[in-house]
């Protein structure tokens, strides 16, 4: 009989994860125990929000330190804290915009909130994972929750189709990722990112074809999760079919988590093999930006347009990944935060305008919105300007940092292609504004049913977009501190 000594770990490092999983289970229990008396289920949304706020408070406490726990496999540094903040923000905003939406669509089940909380756990694990195993498990927790949430409108065929498509392709991508991880483990004998890095450094770079293949397969797996071209085929259909609130969540949270893992794996573990992966990401970035922006022009459905726009934004973020300098990393963090505000804001407005049985998602449906609901149109205009990268909005500052990072690393051609793509994107973003203000309404606007929670979400998004656009320096400073510890 031998004793197994469980190693010591800092409970603070996983406290946000513990809180979220606890609250996820509380939501499920409250749902079961009170389902008859509590017809409206408002309580569940509030419980989830309390969980998120508590997790955010405790996630903040170790700021400024670098903590490795669980045998160096779990890293709490400013980098993962910044990403945790983005995840919690996007989860909180999603719950705010979901509350009235899921009631209207009659998919108001407690599992909805629980799954959103669980997927946030997965994202946190991905951002903080300092070994490939943790990153993989985090990715699975996140993905499986979102496959289910995509199919949450069980009676709608389009939602079922989206869920099945996402699940099958996602499982395939997971296979690539896992195969890559196993090849990396086979050739380096380590799954810890730092040990992989020191192994590669001791060999003076990657010469082993097995290791190269493993790295390539990991890039495919994560490239699928962040929706980069050519692994993007699922995006438009899944974004269109999923419940709109989940589309908003999906375009922000998992994308941020994918980039968190992408940056940490490529920069920490394969940092000395920069020349090898930089070429792949370079081509991916150009393909992703251009395909996303060009196809977005032709869309008539606003959810599909935002899907292609989300592909294009993944392309801009890949530019930051190529440059792989501190400015690129802090640029990614800043851009992801800005994208959270503007994208969830835009989807919130789509949700406000939609009604049961009428999604109201054709772009022409927005004609005349500027006269009928001037405040909503103004907010939508702001989000569209921000996504196009017009100053003084958050999107402009984010793009500025990312393109500067590319120039600083000497990728001037890439920065130029990025700027050209931004110009292309102005066309389809501004088209919505033009339609809202300069066209006669083609159809009646029904009286809006606005809940205070969704108003709060739109207000937070507007304030965030403007604040990051006008006073970016404070947040940028935090983002810069986050990058120091990555290597």
């Amino acid at each position: 009989m031998t004793n197994v000594s469980i190693m010591t770990f800092n409970i603070l490092s996983i406290l946000p994860i513990l809180i979220l999983s606890g609250f996820g289970m509380i939501v499920l229990l409250v749902d079961v125990l009170s389902s008859r008396r509590l017809g409206e289920k408002n309580l569940l949304a509030y419980i989830s929000l309390i969980g998120i706020i508590l997790a955010a408070i405790f996630a903040r406490s170790p700021a400024g330190t670098t903590l490795f726990s669980f045998n160096e496999s779990f890293a709490i540094d400013n980098y993962s804290l910044f990403f945790n903040f983005i995840f919690l923000l996007s989860t909180g905003l999603t719950i705010l915009i979901s509350h009235s939406y899921i009631k209207r669509e009659e998919i108001n089940h407690g599992e909805y909130y629980a799954l959103i909380l669980f997927s946030t756990i997965g994202m946190m694990l991905m951002a903080a994972g300092a070994d490939l195993l943790n990153i993989f498990i985090g990715l699975e927790v996140m993905s499986i929750s979102i496959y289910i949430l995509t199919g949450f409108k069980r009676s709608k065929l389009i939602s079922n189709e989206a869920s099945l498509k996402y699940f099958l392709l996602g499982a395939f991508a997971t296979g690539f990722l896992l195969y890559g991880i196993s090849l990396v483990y086979g050739s380096t004998g380590a799954i810890n990112l730092k040990q992989i890095a020191s192994f590669i450094a001791s060999k003076g770079g990657i010469s082993d074809p097995v290791l190269l293949m493993g790295m390539g397969l990991i890039i495919i797996g994560l490239g699928f999760k962040v929706a980069s071209v050519p692994f993007h085929a699922w995006v438009p259909d899944v974004y269109e079919g999923a419940p709109t609130a989940i589309t908003a969540f999906m375009s922000v949270g998992p994308k941020a988590a994918g980039f968190a893992a992408f940056l940490r794996i490529l920069i920490t573990a394969f940092g000395s093999a920069h020349d090898e992966w930089q070429k792949i990401i370079y081509i991916l970035a150009i393909l992703t930006m251009t395909t996303g922006n060009v196809i977005a022009i032709a869309q008539t459905n606003i959810k599909r347009m935002l899907a292609y726009s989300s592909i294009a934004h993944a392309g801009y973020l890949l530019i930051a990944l190529v440059s792989a300098n501190d400015m690129g990393v802090s640029g990614t963090l800043f851009y992801m935060l800005a994208y959270t505000f503007m994208n969830i804001g835009a989807f919130a407005i789509v949700i406000v305008l939609s009604r049961k049985g009428d999604e109201f998602i054709q772009i022409n449906d927005y004609a005349g919105l500027g006269f009928k609901h001037p405040l909503l149109a103004l907010a939508m205009t702001l989000f569209m300007f921000s996504m196009a990268g017009v100053p003084p909005t958050a999107g402009f500052v984010g793009k500025f940092y990312i393109f500067s990072a590319a120039i600083k690393s000497g990728y001037i051609g890439l920065a130029v292609i990025g700027v050209i793509n931004s110009v292309i994107s102005v066309y389809y973003y501004l088209r919505i504004t033009v339609i809202m203000y300069m066209k006669e309404p083609t159809r009646e606007f029904a009286p809006l049913t606005i809940s205070p929670l969704i108003v709060a979400a739109i207000a937070i998004s507007v304030i965030g977009t403007l604040h990051l656009g006008i006073f970016p320096s404070k947040v940028m400073e935090i983002a810069q501190q986050a990058t120091l510890m990555l290597k």
């Binding site: 197994v4 000594s5 469980i6 190693m7 770990f9 996983i14 994860i17 999983s21 499920l28 669980f70 045998n71 496999s73 779990f74 089940h109 599992e111 629980a114 799954l115 669980f118 756990i121 694990l125 195993l133 943790n134 498990i137 985090g138 699975e140 927790v141 499986i144 929750s145 496959y147 289910i148 199919g151 949450f152 069980r154 869920s163 483990y185 086979g186 050739s187 004998g189 380590a190 082993d208 074809p209 097995v210 293949m213």
Partner: protein
């Protein structure tokens, strides 16, 4: 002796896997798959990984295959008819890419660059402690966090199965 056993079992594995692909009757296909899984378990034993072999038989040959057969019986699948090739343009590229992948794998295996972690887990050490005990130790010490998070993963999957499949919520 062991080398001969390896070649025999490996040949069985590959042959049954090929039969599985070309078999038209789903029940026979499932049986070939069971044979493939069991042969893989034998290969694991040859690699001194008895625990993995046992898990392979219990989980794959046992649980998952029973599930497969249940689905086949419940859906009452007939012997597959000649279906029209839905992806005619992918056929030739798929064959070419398959050959390319096979070539790459062969090159990689021949280059003998695989160098797994050897330091403390030598065969003698593993046999001294015992396979199962060693894995159990590692799961509760070094890999405690992923092990625990897996419980959330399974929980989420259970919620999903109920959520998407239950007739009335």
């Amino acid at each position: 002796m062991l080398a001969y056993l390896f070649y025999i079992v490996a040949a069985i594995t590959v042959t049954t896997a090929v039969y599985l692909i070309f078999e038209k009757n789903p029940v026979f296909g499932a049986l070939y798959l069971i044979q493939t899984m069991v042969s893989l378990a034998v290969l694991y034993i040859l690699l001194e990984a008895q625990f993995v072999a046992a898990v392979q038989i219990i989980v794959y040959a046992g649980a998952i295959m029973v599930l497969f057969l249940f689905v086949i019986m419940l859906l009452n699948l007939d012997i597959g008819e000649e279906t029209k090739n839905a992806l005619p343009y992918q056929r030739i590229p798929a064959i070419l890419m398959g050959i390319a992948l096979f070539t790459i794998i062969c090159i990689v295996i021949r280059s003998k660059l695989l160098q797994g972690k050897q330091d403390q887990y030598t065969t003698a050490f593993v046999q001294g402690v015992g396979n199962t005990k060693l894995i159990g130790n590692l799961l509760f010490t070094e890999y405690l966090l992923p092990f625990e998070i897996t419980s959330i993963l399974l929980f989420v999957a259970a919620i999903g199965a109920i959520m998407l499949a239950k007739r009335k919520l």
